[in-house]
């Protein structure tokens, strides 16, 4: 079969791109090789399926050169050339749409390649005017500004050495240049740090970097940098993750909502994840108002379809369960049911069945229809996500408890304990949370099965006093039922 790289690239092209690529292949600037055009014309007809039997090298060679003997070296060369053209097409198309890069390349040509001061100045001035109108000032904006000023510096250095007067020295530009670079650095590094810190809240990794503190302390004492919306966003995210102060939650939420237009999709999505994670952490610290806060965030997510890291992306199974879980907790069963029906098509096809089964299982559980809940749960298969696995075990345990399947429940508890003990990815806090749930469910089951209520007060005491217990509300409810 023809080198998969080429097929992989051109099969990713849509019809419009394929048409443009055809122009590209026929462009003498990029290609004057007629054989390459012939190969492209043949492959074009097979787009996008490219049935394997039709793209075998021997078959393609015969189609292209019916009168000649198969020459492997020759066909490989043509394929290589077309592959190179496909890559050039992708990057050229991208550059064509990247105004930052295009303008910078031109400035570079004027100052470095040709040393044309007049053309440089003209382009530089028009570019500065254009950039002054940009509203979204993100890391790309600042690195571009920096690079433009670097070129301006080169222009001064290489093409203008008439330093006769103080005013000839481009002091302001040089100072601006270091500021642009600094802002780019702050935005990108705060973004990376908050990614790591946020990851640490869900995955058990430790990472210390003291340059992070250098930056954070510096911005603390130079609040003028917070005039840059993206920088402020990442700074508040980091403060929220580092400082454990609720005021940052509200500041961050307000900043995100008030400056929604100033952020990229990815930024909005990741900020939302951080806010959600914070709510969850607060919930496990026994601050129930964060159920409502989280639900508010979910409504905002649904309204803006902020389901994935990329615009138009599908909703993750974890997020789907988060949304339904909080809805159940707040007793908004109709809202949840409505959400499931309206958003089931926003799920990845591969996850859809499992997620819907899990969601319906939870819905039926909440409605106390245990058989239906179990039926849906049993339909879940081939799962590999660690939290998903835990969720399945938790719900199953709840159902067993509710249905009075004591033996099955004890068996599951043993299995669950073993699973948690061997898991190395879950953070210590989460392990503790799940372990508490398992242990307390075990205690309640024991009380329930032996009908010996003497130790019930111990369970109730622990539930009342101890934070970080998974499904605490349910456990309390069950303890209450036993007391009655």
């Amino acid at each position: 079969m023809i080198k998969t790289n080429l097929i992989d690239i051109i099969s990713s092209f849509d019809a419009k791109e394929m048409k443009e690529f055809s122009d590209f292949v026929h462009s003498p600037y990029f290609n004057k090789n007629k054989k390459v055009i012939t190969l492209f014309s043949y492959l074009k007809k097979l787009h996008p399926e490219f049935q394997p039997e039709k793209i075998k090298k021997e078959i393609v060679f015969k189609k292209l050169f019916p009168k000649e003997d198969f020459n492997d070296g020759f066909i490989r060369l043509i394929i290589h050339n077309l592959n190179k053209l496909a890559e050039d097409f992708v990057s050229t198309r991208k550059i064509d749409n990247n105004l930052y890069l295009k303008d910078r390349l031109l400035l570079e040509y004027f100052v470095i390649d040709k040393k044309l001061p007049k053309l440089f100045e003209k382009k530089y001035n028009s570019l500065k005017e254009k950039n002054s109108k940009i509203i979204i000032k993100d890391a790309d904006y600042y690195i571009n500004e920096f690079e433009v000023e670097v070129l301006f510096g080169k222009y001064k250095f290489l093409l203008d050495d008439n330093v006769l007067n103080v005013t000839d020295l481009p002091k302001e530009e040089y100072l601006k240049k270091t500021e642009h670079l600094k802002k780019h650095f702050f935005i990108t590094s705060l973004n990376q740090y908050r990614y790591l810190l946020n990851t640490r809240t869900v995955i058990n990794v430790n990472y210390e970097d003291d340059f992070r503190d250098v930056i954070v302390n510096y911005i603390d004492s130079h609040p003028e940098y917070l005039d840059v919306p993206v920088l402020k966003l990442h700074f508040l995210e980091l403060c929220l993750l580092l400082r454990d102060d609720e005021k940052y939650f509200y500041e961050l939420e307000e900043h995100l909502i008030n400056n929604f237009h100033a952020f990229s999709w990815g930024e909005k999505f990741s900020t939302m994840s951080i806010l959600e994670n914070y709510c969850l952490a607060m919930i496990y610290k026994d601050k129930p108002k964060y159920y409502e806060e989280k639900h508010k965030l979910h409504q905002f997510i649904i309204k803006h379809k902020l389901f994935a890291k990329y615009e138009g992306g599908k909703i993750s199974e974890t997020e789907f369960h988060n949304i339904t879980g909080i809805g159940f907790r707040l007793g908004k069963f109709d809202w949840v049911e409505n959400f499931i029906h309206e958003n089931k098509d926003n799920l990845e096809e591969k996850d859809k069945d499992n997620v819907l089964n899990m969601s319906f299982s939870k819905l039926y559980l909440a409605k106390r229809d245990f058989d239906n809940a179990l039926e849906h749960l049993n339909k879940i298969q081939d799962i590999d996500d660690v939290y998903y696995k835990m969720m399945k075990k938790t719900i199953t345990l709840e159902i067993y408890y509710e249905k009075g399947l004591i033996v099955e429940a004890f068996n599951l508890i043993d299995n669950f304990k073993h699973y948690v003990a061997n898991d190395k990815i879950t953070t210590a806090v989460e392990k503790e949370r799940v372990t508490n749930f398992i242990r307390l469910t075990h205690d309640l089951l024991k009380i329930k099965s032996k009908q010996d209520y003497k130790s019930l007060y111990l369970v109730e005491k622990e539930l009342k006093e101890k934070p970080n217990i998974f499904k605490k509300d349910w456990l309390m409810k069950k303890a209450d039922e036993l007391r009655k």
């Binding site: 122009d23 462009s27 992708v90 050229t92 550059i95 890069l101 053309l119 290489l158 250098v214």
Partner: protein, 482 residues
């Protein structure tokens, strides 16, 4: 001829570029407008001067359309489209290979073409790991690649296990980002500090103290040779500690051949500047240091701002000055002869006469020296102006034209007090020279050994004095007279 950016741009195209532009314009991917192709075909006959009468807008219009009633709107649109294509063509030739690869990587990631992404990731990572030059762009590319890898992993991999989380990669990403930032910003800061010692600049950088403290505490800079160099350059420019000079000199001499031209140029230039500063603080050993650094500059060809540039005329002047101050007249004469042709043709004439004028002073050929000074034309650099005045004074003194010495001193004092560009230390350096020359004249007219000894003492104990060696030599001559 119609005047436009287009013509100005095309005039500077090489024949190869102009031919390639033809292919570019005829490429359906970029252009399907026949009028634009026709305009190119028509004006190409007049490349590269484009000054024929046939290039007036109405003539071109007639040629393109066959119509006589000129339509300015049409012409402007066609010219605009051709200009735009020229710019697009230039972008296509300037873009570099690694930028191209990063664009592909980013595109594959965003399209979710995982196989293509992984293949390209391997290629780009291999390429970067083999790169010799570990400069700021290397680390910026590395950062971008690593950040994309992180994003890819986060998008495509389930965290089933601790090994699914690539902590080392995360740290590498942050290190690359910090390396990029430091490699980009430290030279900027250093440039400013260095400029401040040459011309009068008042500025304050925030965040720099935090960086310096961090690097001193952690030694982060030591992992990357170029960063290590920049850090020591910055310390040299910022801190008034002689030891920083020798620390930097050690690094430069040890690794000079491993750095790019621009990095070598800046590193050695900084050493040269620091040696000047230390010398004018009264540390005589730095005259020898200056001479040593000048020899390194000459040996490595670091006397030009860029690789295909000309010998910097200010540096040329300084090399001559130091050579003569150390009494190396033959060496200096040979240096001038060997290197004069390396100067910018625009500067050569003035540089020749200025440096010959100084050489003649040291050879005691004062009339020749005056003659050279008189041939210096318009000067564009302030230091040329001060140099000419100093030399004139020295010559007048040697020729016993005392009244003229007094007049030049008055005139020069006035010039210094009105100038806004020279930094204070340079003004002081010149003022001290004027003060001592004035004293020399006064003693010359009423000689007394006490006065000469007092003056000699003062000169020896006054740092930051221009032409100190010459002034002391003159006091010795006066002592012989009394």
């Amino acid at each position: 001829m119609f005047k436009s950016n287009l013509i100005e741009l095309l005039k500077n195209f090489s024949p190869k570029e102009f031919k390639e532009l033809g292919d570019f314009i005829k490429s359906p991917f970029f252009n399907k407008n026949e009028n634009v192709i026709n305009l190119y075909n028509y004006i190409k006959k007049y490349y590269p001067d484009f000054d024929a009468e046939q290039l007036s807008k109405d003539k071109v219009y007639e040629k393109l359309t066959g119509k006589k009633d000129y339509n300015d709107g049409f012409m402007r649109t066609v010219i605009f489209n051709l200009s735009k294509l020229c710019e697009d063509y230039l972008c296509s030739i300037v873009k570099n290979e690694i930028e191209n690869e990063l664009i592909l990587l980013d595109t594959y990631f965003k399209r979710g073409s995982n196989k293509l992404f992984e293949r390209k990731m391997k290629q780009v990572s291999d390429f970067l790991s083999k790169e010799n030059s570990k400069d700021q762009y290397h680390f910026y590319c590395l950062y971008r690649v690593q950040a994309l890898k992180m994003a890819y992993n986060s998008k495509n991999r389930a965290f089933l296990n601790v090994k699914d989380f690539h902590e080392e990669e995360e740290i590498k990403t942050l290190d690359s980002l910090l390396n990029f930032y430091l490699l980009s910003s430290l030279p900027e800061y250093r440039f400013f500090y260095n400029q401040a010692s040459v011309v009068n600049l008042d500025f304050k950088f925030n965040f720099l103290p935090e960086i310096i403290t961090y690097l001193k505490r952690t030694g982060f800079h030591k992992k990357v040779p170029e960063l290590n160099l920049h850090f020591h350059e910055l310390l040299l420019a910022m801190e008034d500690d002689e030891q920083n000079y020798f620390n930097l000199k050690e690094i430069v001499l040890k690794y000079i051949d491993k750095y790019r031209f621009a990095v070598q140029f800046n590193g050695v230039g900084l050493l040269a500047n620091k040696a000047v500063t230390e010398y004018y603080k009264g540390k005589d050993k730095f005259l020898d240091e200056r001479f040593e650094i000048h020899n390194l500059i000459i040996e490595k060809g670091l006397y030009k701002k860029f690789e295909d540039g000309f010998f910097d005329d200010m540096l040329f002047k300084n090399i001559v000055l130091v050579g003569l101050q150390l009494g190396k007249i033959e060496w200096t004469e040979k240096f001038i002869n060997d290197n004069l042709e390396k100067l910018n043709p625009d500067d050569k004439e003035n540089a020749y006469h200025l440096n010959l004028a100084r050489l003649c002073v040291y050879k005691k050929k004062y009339d020749d020296s005056l003659s050279h000074l008189s041939k210096i034309g318009n000067v564009k650099h302030i230091h040329y102006k001060t140099e000419i005045k100093i030399l004139t004074l020295m010559i007048y003194y040697e020729l016993n034209r005392n009244d003229e010495v007094i007049t030049v001193i008055d005139n020069y004092k006035h010039f210094l007090s009105n100038d806004a560009l020279l930094p204070e230390q340079r003004k002081e350096r010149n003022s001290n020279f004027l003060k001592f020359t004035n004293e020399l004249i006064r003693i010359k007219e009423n000689p007394s050994s006490k006065a000469v000894y007092d003056l000699q003492f003062d000169i020896k104990n006054t740092p930051n004095t221009y032409e100190k060696e010459w002034l002391l030599e003159k006091t010795e001559q006066l002592l012989k007279l009394v």
